[in-house]
């Protein structure tokens, strides 16, 4: 990065001139506020940032950021971002998507962007419902969910974003919650610092069509027993009194009590976000409410070769080896022959 002093930008410098049009009370506002707050801290000029989205409520996000932005078509944001990043690896690219956009119509692109380890940050706003089309169940909706399109309850087993991301061997996987803004800001900073695909699931409340879907994880009276805030190198402890922990019993996690002294911190599972094997991260991603506290924070953060760098390296290597191609060489290659006058 240039050593030249950058003008000190503030959150409001990242606001575009467009009115925000989400429903009052929508969790998206909190996310937008945190993104605008964190962006100036990154020291990256606005013109080097691109926000890319697909279709859905969350996908209006780029219109509200004073950066470059591309509001594309349903599900395709990771593919659009791939083209942008490969064309210009110097750009900082954020993909904003939702549970329907990213995991239903665009599931394919999401998986492939992740497994290629394209250096982009993917924010998946998970509200477990289709909002923009007014309330159908989404691929993350719980089994039996009653919605406009499932009056007798849905019969599809839901998909779990973190498990999908880890299954595709994402190099950075995290979860945060719209109502825990400090934590969200920290996760955004971590994602921005990560080189490679950073996948973040954000529990986001749709107060119109699925109000309270994640209150178990966000509200004071419940959240201590239902969430497990991860810290690298630390034992997995949760509960309002920090008196519960996660232990590995064979291949399975189990909840144990630290209250009676029979179990010590050293007996617990320790978080290792840097493990080259994604097994622990996957195990964490399968800890789900109500059986387990759900992990919040960074599940995985490892270095992997990056896609756009690999592509650029091959171009550079080819030029170094063969010299920059000329039109003369291009046209005159292969078997040629002369026809004389």
């Amino acid at each position: 990065m240039s050593t030249e002093a950058l003008p000190q930008l503030k959150a409001k410098d990242f606001a575009s001139d467009q009115d925000v049009r989400w429903c009052p009370g929508c969790g998206d506002y909190a996310i937008l506020a945190q993104v605008k707050k964190v962006m100036p801290e990154l020291g990256i000029p606005r013109e080097k940032m691109v926000f890319v989205s697909g279709i859905g409520c969350s996908s209006r996000f780029p219109y509200y950021m004073n950066t470059y932005g591309f509001h594309s078509i349903h599900g395709r944001a990771p593919a659009v971002a791939t083209g942008i990043k490969v064309a210009n690896p110097e750009l900082t690219v954020w993909v904003v998507t939702g549970d329907g956009d990213g995991l239903s119509i665009g599931g394919n692109h999401l998986i492939h962007a992740i497994r290629r380890n394209l250096d982009v940050n993917i924010l998946l706003f998970n509200n477990r419902i289709y909002g923009l089309t007014k309330g159908q169940y989404s691929p993350t909706s719980e089994l039996g969910k009653k919605t406009k399109s499932t009056p007798m309850g849905s019969v599809d087993n839901p998909i779990h974003p973190l498990s999908i991301a880890i299954g595709a061997e994402a190099s950075f996987v995290a979860r945060t919650i719209d109502r825990n803004v400090q934590h969200m800001a920290e996760v955004l900073r971590r994602a921005a610092a990560h080189r490679g695909t950073a996948f973040i699931e954000i529990y986001q409340n749709c107060n119109i069509f699925n109000d309270g879907a994640f209150f178990y994880a966000s509200e004071k009276d419940q959240k201590h027993d239902t969430t497990l805030y991860l810290e690298h190198g630390k034992p997995m402890i949760f509960g309002e009194k920090k008196d519960k922990g996660i232990r590995l019993n064979g291949m399975e996690p189990e909840i144990v009590s630290l209250a009676d002294g029979s179990m010590k911190e050293d007996d617990l599972l320790f978080h290792d976000e840097k493990s080259p094997e994604p097994s622990l991260a996957y195990l964490l991603s399968r800890m789900r409410y109500p059986e387990f506290p759900e992990p919040v924070g960074v599940l995985r953060s490892v270095d992997q070769p990056r896609f756009e760098i690999g592509i650029q390296d091959q171009v550079d290597q080819a030029i170094a080896k063969r010299g920059r191609g000329t039109l003369e060489d291009l046209l005159n290659a292969g078997d040629t022959w002369m026809i004389e006058d």
Binding site: V52, N66, A79, N88, L331, W337, M338, I339
Partner: protein, 633 residues
């Protein structure tokens, strides 16, 4: 002649003094199992003919299955080459010499061999089982059923084994050399030099000296066999063509299109991004381009057709010259994203190498049935520029032109080629790079508001006199802006749903494409500028139409040929041109798609000639139709 007699023809006692007949042009087809190496054999024969100085045109014809059951009719692979001492435009209507490696190949191809033509058959592959697989009850080489052609039964496999009796190669490897025997034999028959193939063998098999030596020996054995055996009483010569002087190379359409988009990238000073998902018959473009990384070419083999086109749009937004390639089914999948390209007004070239449809259709066969899909196959009023290449070499120029229009008019451009010209080859007079025009691309770096209430700062949809919006790329300070698929207000680009604005934008996007007509050449005509009949074509039918029209012109008839490269918008003079002829005939490899457009646009009651068999037109088919139309005057 029984089998024994044919196979015991002595070689050593013959002299080489056989008569030589001079011919103006010849069509040879090699046919066998898809594993027999027919494409390689045909390709080498073509290469030799081209280097020798003939004009050439080729038609590879292969099954969709990589290895259909051996010996079956479905597994027959063929390669046809037409070489001549004058200008040729097609791979030839009828075959002069057919080389077949099994009964299935004979059955599939014999109908295309002219009366008096030559059939060379690998006699040893006409056993009972081979015959049964091809559905023959009796051996057609023996039962007298072939009466119109001269059959030469050659024990290719045995002679190959004999030639390699001292070789270290195993039985299977020896068997695989037999196509070189046929190549040697046909090379002798038409006086082709062996040197180019010998050199090629050295290059190709240099790391495997035993295989290289075996192929050399078998090639020479085939040649010697022709020279000395009694089967062939004469050989033939096709002298050099009188092509315009200059440096030439052979080129296929897929190769030419690849070179063309690299040239467009070079001439515009933009890096090339090519996003594609493998699909027959377009995959070769991806293969070619992935070998040109030292030209700054970035290739992206996407997870699907939609990712290929949307990644290309992303690359275009970020400032690369973006191209995506596909065939018909892929174009259907890309439709929504092309609409996004129309809405965001970004440059993008979409190459559609057409194949037989609908659905999966005939993946390896040619057709021209995607014209209406290219024109209209999207939701909403969604015009794009549409171009079509007319020959393998023309793919080069058409690709540059597609890139020029895309980048200077800020629009998606669909370039139509087809399986026939994509895989077919012809000699190409290599252009001088200095003769290729520059493509003037400007990336805006300044805000463009005039402050008169049209909005502040940078206005991404403020247009120039051609209604073209500025291409400002991420990384440019102060020009941050957002684009997307929602309808936008003109000038500012802000999301806007107002009724009048929407209609204004629909009309503006249409007008922007229409204005491209000011930036393309007038439609040319081969033949009289007015007269009885204009034969109007587009795409890969150019060679067949031109040859047919030339034949009828030589009979003194008033017929002209116009071949449209610019299908949307049409050239400005096309309407007037059509009015100069009493009748208009439109031959197409579809059910009449250009005719529909011409009738709608110009109210001309054009006549159709349609063929939808997965095969190109024969010259004679068009000639017959022209004569029929003229007779009905």
């Amino acid at each position: 002649m029984d089998k024994q007699e044919a196979t015991t023809t002595t070689m050593a006692t013959q002299t080489a003094d056989k008569p030589i007949e001079e011919l103006s042009d010849v069509t040879v087809r090699f046919a066998g199992d898809s594993g027999d190496g027919m494409q390689l054999t045909g390709g080498q024969f073509t290469r030799t003919s081209a280097i020798f100085g003939n004009d050439i045109s080729t038609f590879p014809d292969f099954p969709a299955e990589i290895r259909a059951p051996a010996g079956s009719l479905a597994g027959v692979s063929g390669f046809q080459v037409h070489f001549s001492n004058c200008d040729v435009h097609t791979p030839g209507d009828m075959v002069d010499t057919l080389v077949v490696f099994n009964p299935a190949a004979l059955k599939v191809n014999i109908g295309d061999v002219r009366e008096g033509g030559i059939i060379i058959a690998n006699d040893e592959s006409f056993g009972k089982t081979d015959l049964r697989k091809a559905g023959y009850d009796q051996n057609p080489l023996e039962d007298g059923s072939i009466t119109k052609q001269k059959v030469h039964r050659v024990p290719v496999s045995r002679l190959t084994r004999e030639a390699l009796k001292d070789s270290k190669l195993g039985t299977k490897q020896v068997e695989r050399c037999k196509n070189f025997f046929a190549l040697g034999l046909v090379s002798w028959l038409y006086g082709r030099p062996l040197e180019p193939t010998l050199q090629w063998i050295d290059q190709k098999f240099g790391k495997n000296p035993d295989v290289a030596e075996a192929n050399r020996l078998v090639l020479k054995a085939g040649h010697a066999y022709g020279e000395t055996c009694e089967l062939f009483h004469s050989s033939y010569r096709v002298s050099k063509a009188t092509l315009p002087p200059g440096k030439y190379r052979r080129i296929s359409g897929n190769e030419a299109v690849s070179l063309g988009i690299i040239a467009a990238s070079h001439q515009s000073g933009k890096d090339l991004f090519y996003g594609s998902y493998p699909i027959t018959p377009a995959s070769d473009i991806l293969h070619h381009l992935s070998g040109y990384k030292h030209y700054g070419v970035k290739t992206f083999q996407a997870e699907d057709e939609i990712a290929a086109v949307t990644a290309s749009l992303g690359a275009s937004f970020a400032g690369d010259f973006a191209v995506t390639g596909t065939s018909g089914p892929g174009l259907a999948l890309k439709a929504e994203a092309i609409g996004l390209g129309v809405m965001t007004e970004l440059p993008l070239v979409i190459i559609n190498v057409q194949r037989g449809g609908p659905s999966t259709g005939l993946p390896t066969k040619t057709e021209q049935a995607d014209l209406l899909q290219a024109m209209y196959g999207r939701n909403g009023e969604c015009p794009v520029a549409v171009l079509a290449a007319s020959s393998p070499a023309d793919c080069f120029y058409a690709a540059i032109e597609a890139g020029r229009i895309a980048m200077t008019h800020m629009t998606p451009v669909i370039l139509l080629t087809d399986g026939y010209i994509a895989n077919g080859e012809e000699p190409w007079a290599i252009p001088n790079p200095a003769d290729l025009a520059k493509i003037n691309v400007v990336h805006t770096t300044e805000t463009n508001s005039n402050g008169n209430g049209e909005g502040d700062g940078f206005l991404p949809y403020k247009r120039d006199e051609n209604l073209v919006r500025p291409w400002a790329i991420p990384g440019t300070p102060e020009l941050q802006h957002r684009i997307g698929g929602l309808e936008k207000q003109d000038v500012t680009g802000n999301v806007n749903y107002e009724p009048a604005n929407h209609e204004h934008m629909i009309n503006t996007r249409a007008r922007k494409i229409e204005l491209i007509a000011n930036d393309i050449p007038a439609q040319e005509v081969m033949g009289p500028e007015q007269g009885d009949l204009l034969v109007l074509g587009w795409g890969g039918t150019a060679g067949a139409i031109r040859s047919a029209v030339e034949r009828v012109q030589q009979q003194g008839r008033s017929v002209a040929h116009a071949h449209i490269k610019y299908l949307n918008p049409f050239p400005r003079n096309l309407g007037q041109l059509l009015a100069n002829y009493k009748k208009v005939l439109i031959p197409e490899l579809n059910s009449g798609q250009l005719r529909l457009l011409i009738r709608a646009e110009y109210l001309v009651d054009a006549i159709s000639l349609n063929k939808v068999q997965g095969k190109p037109f024969l010259i004679s088919e068009i000639e017959t139709k022209i004569n029929q139309v003229l007779a009905n005057e």
